[in-house]
Amino acid sequence: MRPFDYVEPETLDEALETLAADPDDTVVMAGGTSLVILMKQDLVRPARVLGLRRIEALRAVDERRDVLALFLL
């Protein structure tokens, strides 16, 4: 796997800022079971991986809208 930088923001705002600053070279990772394979196979070559595991707001089951949103981090 190619080297990359890893960042783990603690808030959604921080995560969105990081993503907006360099959208082409940043990939977002939840569990990583798809992304890590793609990186191992050199199909995705990000400069930066943005991990979502510390973002409390994404640890939720959201039933407020028409759809059921599951954030399984």
Binding site: M1, P3, D5, Y6, G32, V36, I37, M39, V49, R53
Partner: protein, 150 residues
């Protein structure tokens, strides 16, 4: 390349290491920490050889970045003490042995989560652990025997 200090427990013992972002949990375990009981098979999360428990859940260590276990409790085959180890012997739950540590880590996670797992649940949970000798009946018997009290 970012470096990350991570702290977690491995089989109950504290680990404090600094790793590059791309270090995989599997390589950290086998190469840095010399815990070679966890095997490397397909490397793409399909075969289950590298199954370890992270906070009790069976995961493929070949797809987990070491940074992702910061703060977690990791268990490997070296830390397993389960009746399953005896029942695998009793029932011939292995042939060549390459899949055994992964099979055991999944089966142990199952019996901790569901001590009364049905035979169907045993099959479901073990689906992610391939046995290339096709010794599945022995494995399933061994897990059922441990469930039933050995």
């Amino acid at each position: 390349v970012s470096q990350h200090r991570i702290r977690f427990t491995l089989n109950g013992a504290s680990v404090d290491v600094t790793v590059p972002a791309e270090r995989l949990l599997l390589d950290l375990l086998r190469e840095d920490l010399r815990k070679t009981g966890t095997k490397d098979g397909c490397s793409v999360g399909v075969c289950g050889l590298c199954t370890v428990q992270v906070d009790g859940a069976p995961l493929s260590a070949c797809l987990v970045l070491a940074t992702q276990v910061d703060g977690a409790a990791v268990r490997t085959i070296e830390g397993l003490a389960s009746p399953l180890q005896e029942t695998f012997i009793d029932e011939g739950g292995f042939q060549c042995g390459i899949c055994t540590s992964g099979q055991l880590m999944t089966a142990d996670a199952l019996l901790r989560a569901k001590p009364d797992a049905t035979d169907a649940e045993i099959n479901d949970w073990q689906m992610g652990n391939l046995c290339r000798c096709t010794g599945y009946y022995g494995i399933a018997r061994a897990i059922a025997k441990a469930r039933d009290g050995g």
